[in-house]
Every structure is written in structure tokens, then in C-alpha cells.
Amino acid sequence: MTFLAKPKLLRPDTPRNELGFTRRDYEGAVSTLCAGCGHDSISAAIVQAAFELNIEPHRVAKLSGIGCSSKTPDYFLGASHGFNSVHGRMPSVLTGAALANRSLTYLGVSGDGDSASIGIGQFAHAMRRGVNMTYIVENNGVYGLTKGQFSATADKGSKSKRGVVNSDSPIDLVGLALQLGATYVARSFSGDKEQLVPLIKGALRHNGPAFLDVISPCVTFNNHAGSTKSYEYVREHDVPVNVVQLMLPREEITATYPPGSLHRVTQHDGSVLLLRKLGEDYDPTDRLAAMSHLHEHEAKGEVVTGLLYVDPEAQEMHEHLHTVGTPLNQLQARELSPGSAKLAALNDSLR
């Protein structure tokens, strides 16, 4: 694909965040994905979220597995270290990285093939272990890099581009994440930036495993009539549970809402999630209710989106393991080595 490199010069009125960064500072290399790919919209949403959150780009570590989705970390946050690991194993690599330095923000990007098929084991264990991360699955129901075979999240009855009907039951990663103990669970749509950006912001500020399933149509292999992961299908069947807004600790809440229409969830770091209810009374802090709401609507062929569940009191892996506050990668030999006297005592105990 040919492209024009963006000019380095900025207009004086280019918006800057509190740290003085422009959006450009959160961008990466030019995408090599197909034009119109939902994944590029998600990359743009990540850029926007990181810009609005005033994140220092170099204090983010972005990790991925293998697939179209896993290529994307090259296309955002160019000043962050990135790691394109092996197929389905991003969660373990990210777990190791998070163990080594608890002070960074960890963003794992994966796809439906990467997380629901080959990597379902590692996905499950990262969720239940409580790794402090934002786990985004760019879900299109097909293997795009290898020409569009169904993945494990493809709905039963969904039709492939060649007219083959999928006969296997789908794996619902949102349902699994809820069951496995993820403490921030959301679903969104790559075509709905207004919903997606605040959900990513909330996830990045969440203390614990935050899981986001983002339906992201594959324009090349899965965007036709009969597919349940097409732009058209998702737009028609999208049933959002709430409208999310993330307020940083110092931000003033100015908008007014009618009483009873708003859920206010204060996260561990002081950020506030404002969740405006839509239609029925939905409580996003009730895990069981979230699961049954999800299943009820899925049975009707609907796609439930929004912030489905959040536990503001969530703890993360380091708290479970009682590790020291200092990032482990900054501990020096004198702090790590027990020394010769301790060794002599150990030797004596074995005589």
C-alpha cells in the first residue's frame, strides 16, 4: 500500500494534553492492514485514550500474539516498547513483564483466533490470576491473515464469504472473562468510537485484569450478508447497556443527569466511571446479573455492548503475591542476594 508520510511540522494550535504531548506522539508506524479494517479504528481509539489520559508513552508496554490484530501494536504508541510474541501466548509474556515492573501500564492486544483458539488457556489464566492489564481482543470471527477461516468466536449459523455456514458453537470471551474473575469487562464495536474510547480509558486506569472484547469487522473476509460480525449486523443488533464516561481524579463533573439514571463507580486510583443507564436498570457491579443479561440477549442474536461489569475494589496479581513495592527489575544484587552468611547457615543445616 502506498501512503504519504505525515509531515513532522505541527500547527501552533495543535491540541496538546497536560504533559504537552500531541496525538501524534501516541501514534505509531503506518498500518499495513486492509483499508477499512476495524482494527485500525481500535488503534486510533487507543491513541485517543492514551492522549486523553495524559499517559507518558514510554511508560506503556504493549504486547501481542500473532495475527492481524497482533500486528497493530506497531501502529500506535511508537515511543513504547512493544513485544509481538508467539501465537496465543501474549498473556504469559505480559504476566512476566508485569511481574518484572509493576509500575508500567500494560496493554495486551490479541484477536479471536489468538485468544479463543490457540491461546484460550493463557487467556483464562491471565484473567483468573488478576494480571493488572488491559486485554483487548479485536474480534472479527475469522482468521484474516490466512484468508478467512472461521475462528472459535464465529457464531453458529454465521455464513462465510464462500457461503459455508459455521456449525460449531461460539466461544464468548466476555462470558468467560466474567466467569473467570476479570474485574473490568466490556464489549464494544470498532465502528463506535464514542463508546470505545471511554471504555479503553476506564480499562487503562483499572487496577486488575480489564477485558475488552471489541467486535471489529474484517472487511476482506467477514463483512458480507449472513455474517454476524459485519458492520451492518453489529450496528443493527448492538444493545448497549450504558454510556460510559471516565473522569480523572481532578476533573470536575459538570454534566447533569436526572436522578437515578447514573451509576458512579470510583476506581482504585480515584478515577470515576460515570455510567449513564440506557433503558432497563442495569447494575454493572453485579457479576451474576451481568452474566445472565449477556446470555439472555445473546440468545436473541443481540450484541450486548458497554461496561458490563466492574469491581472498583479489585486487587491485582502483585497484591495477591505480596511483592515489594519497588519494581523487581530495579532491585540490585545487594537486595537480592541473601549473602554468604545465610549460605553458610544453609550449608550447616544440610550437614
Binding site: 513504547s80 516498547h81 501466548r89 509474556v93 505480559l94 532491585l331 550449608n347
Partner: protein, 373 residues
């Protein structure tokens, strides 16, 4: 220190009370997760290791290739038992050498450390982290099950309190700030070992995208043949150089000049020492070399060149170290006599003496070799 460990069935043992500050032991789902955590933690600048046995090494292959190609330090302890498959899970062998030395698809070569007893295993454990960070590559600490799980007499372990970690070539904030050129896969020093950065070191310099795909010296994705070849040649240079910095072989010269040599390693030591003394008293004089690491030191080839016939004593069926020597050093196979003991019991001096006597005497009973007497 991060220690991911797959512990099937039993809870992970708590770390000793005095070791409360440093390590994290993470119980994992399987060996794939263990090595994944090691790779992630090492990439992010912590030291990490995992311990396993042959089946675990088989499971880790893809990640080991990634660590080799993306150049991420990783320490793996392998307690070698009888394979293949579940084999003889409670018995000792030295049968994972080739699987570890060339782990993963494509052209790879990994560093192996071959300690002879618990004392050397302790020394090499500490060394393995320095070597993994120096080489930015996986390092295997190869324990024979007889060392790794059985009771064994050992000298008390020693520790030098003035010892510092060797973190290898890690570019600092100051160097990046001063504008030092950073190419993650650039051979700046000619030894094949590039410089790395730890995530979050500098706000605007030194970030790169780590991947298992080919890239240019500045870590940009590339499908260009010359970038691939540059990288492979650099990796070869790097691992060729490893032979000089890894533990050197220990040579025990016979009391008289001889044209027979013996090469052995690992837990064979006590049996070998006894056999050498016994053979010497019977007038059979043999120079002995205990190999302690792979890639091989230069002296391994020199030792073989200096002898007419060299016995290679091993505890596996196919003579894996012998194959590796032939493969790596291009030695005439006829010069290296395979002597293997692999029924799962520890090798004995009696076996070694008997095998050597038999070979020297030849099938017909006539001496097949000139033996210095």
C-alpha cells in the same frame, strides 16, 4: 528474580523465610506459560528462570526459538531423566543435550552448562544468569537426575559477597540521552552481541518493537534477504564466541604420555575418577577432559587433535555429545569411540573400565590400539 514454575498437583513450596524480599514464585498452568513468563520478565529487565525436565523442554520449543531470535535472556534448568516421552521419569540420564542445544525450529544454537555435582550446579546456577544476559539468549543448566533429585555428596556451597551481576550490554538512560546510536540488532562491537534497552528507560529514545520475525538492525520489520542473512551471521558469531566465555573444560592429564583420551561430563565424574585411577594402576593411561559447556571451547578440538583415539562416555543411548562434537567441530567420527550407559542407573567405574578394556583389546582379543605402558 521471577520464578514461574509449573507445579502439577502439589502447591508451590514457600520460599525460605530469609529470602522474603526478592523473588516471586508464580505457579503456572503449564511449561508454555512458565517459559512465556521468563521471556516477558527478562525482556522487562528482571532476572527469571524456570526448572523442568525433558517433556517440559519439548513443550517450550517455540518460545525458546523466539528467545533465541529476538535475543532475550532466559535461564532454564533441565533435570534430565530417561526419555523419550515419559520414558523413565524417576531415573537418571543425559539424553536432552541435543534437544536443548538446538531447541526450536529453524537454525538455532543454545548455551548449555554441564555441572558435575551439586556444588558446581550451584556455581553454574548463578553463572547462568550472567551468561544469559551477556549472550541475550537462553542458557540451559543441564542437571542429570542423579544430581538434580538424588542425594549426593557435595562440598559446602560458597558465595563471594563482593560478586556483582553481569547484566551484559544494556544501554542506560545517560547513554541514550547523550545520543548514542541505538540499533537493537546492530553489531556495534563485532562480537555479534547487540545492545538492548529495558522498557521505560528513556522518554523518547530506545523504544523498539520486539518480534520473532526478521527485522533490520534497527528492529524495523523486514523481509529483505540481506537483513535476514546479516542477522543469522551475527547470531552465529555470537554463539561461536560463547565457547570462550562459558566454563572451560577441565583436563586431567595421565601420569604418562598417552595417545588415548576420554571425554565425559555431568554426573559421570565420580565414576570416571575412580575408573581413571583403576585403569592407571593396570597400566592403561588416559588423558581425561571434562566438558562443562556448549558451544564448545577451543580446547575441545585441540584435545581431540592431540590424541589418536578418544572415548566419549555418556549416559544416553545415541551418544549425543559425540554427535554434537562431530557436528560442530567436524571431527572424523572414527576417532571418537561411543561408550554409553543408559539403563537409568548411575554410570559406574566398573562399566567404564570394562568398556575401555574391551575396546582396547578389540573384538578378537588382540590389542586394537597402541597403548602407552
Amino acid at each position: 528474580m521471577v520464578v514461574p514454575q509449573f507445579v502439577p498437583g502439589i502447591p508451590s513450596p514457600p520460599p525460605p523465610r530469609w529470602w522474603k524480599r526478592s523473588p516471586v514464585t508464580a505457579k503456572t498452568t503449564d511449561e508454555l506459560a512458565s517459559i512465556g513468563i521468563v521471556v516477558g520478565a527478562s525482556w522487562n529487565g528482571a532476572r527469571a528462570f524456570t526448572a523442568t525436565s525433558g517433556p517440559g523442554i519439548s513443550l517450550m520449543q517455540e518460545f525458546l526459538g523466539l528467545a533465541y531470535f529476538a535475543e532475550i535472556p532466559a535461564v532454564v534448568i533441565d533435570v534430565q531423566r530417561g526419555g523419550p516421552s515419559t520414558g523413565m521419569p524417576t531415573r537418571t540420564q543425559q539424553s536432552d543435550l541435543i534437544n536443548c542445544a538446538y531447541a526450536s525450529h529453524g537454525d538455532t544454537r543454545h548455551a548449555l552448562l554441564l555441572p558435575e555435582d551439586p556444588f558446581e550446579a550451584f556455581e553454574f546456577s548463578a553463572l547462568s544468569f550472567d551468561m544469559a544476559e551477556r549472550l541475550q539468549s537462553p542458557v540451559f543448566l543441564m542437571l542429570d537426575l542423579d544430581i538434580g533429585m538424588n542425594e549426593r555428596l557435595s562440598k559446602p556451597f560458597e558465595w563471594d559477597d563482593s560478586r556483582e551481576y553481569d547484566r551484559g550490554k544494556v544501554m542506560s538512560y545517560e547513554e541514550l540521552e547523550a545520543g548514542k546510536d541505538f540499533g537493537r540488532y546492530l553489531d556495534v562491537d563485532g562480537d555479534g552481541i547487540p545492545w538492548r534497552t529495558i522498557p521505560a528507560t528513556h522518554p523518547s529514545r530506545g523504544a523498539y518493537f520486539t518480534r520473532g520475525t526478521t527485522r533490520n538492525p534497527y528492529a524495523k520489520y523486514s523481509e529483505a534477504g540481506n537483513d535476514y542473512v546479516y542477522n543469522m551471521e551475527r547470531l552465529r558469531r555470537k554463539m561461536d564466541g560463547a565457547g570462550a566465555i562459558l566454563p572451560q573444560p577441565v583436563i586431567k592429564a595421565a601420569s604418562q604420555k598417552t595417545n588415548i583420551g576420554v571425554i565425559y561430563y555431568g554426573s559421570t565424574s565420580p565414576a570416571m575418577n575412580e575408573a581413571l585411577a583403576e585403569l592407571s594402576s593396570q597400566g592403561v593411561h588416559i588423558d581425561a577432559m571434562r566438558v562443562r559447556a556448549f558451544p564448545f571451547a577451543k580446547s575441545v578440538g585441540e584435545f581431540i587433535a592431540a590424541h589418536e583415539q578418544v572415548f566419549v562416555i555418556e549416559q544416553n543411548e545415541s551418544g549425543q555429545l559425540r554427535s554434537m562434537i562431530i557436528n560442530e567441530l567436524e571431527i572424523n567420527p572414527a576417532k571418537l569411540v561411543k561408550m554409553v550407559h543408559y539403563d537409568g542407573t548411575p554410570i559406574t567405574a566398573r562399566f567404564i573400565c570394562k568398556s575401555i578394556h574391551k575396546t582396547i583389546a578389540g573384538e578378537s582379543g588382540k590389542p586394537a590400539l597402541k597403548v602407552a605402558t
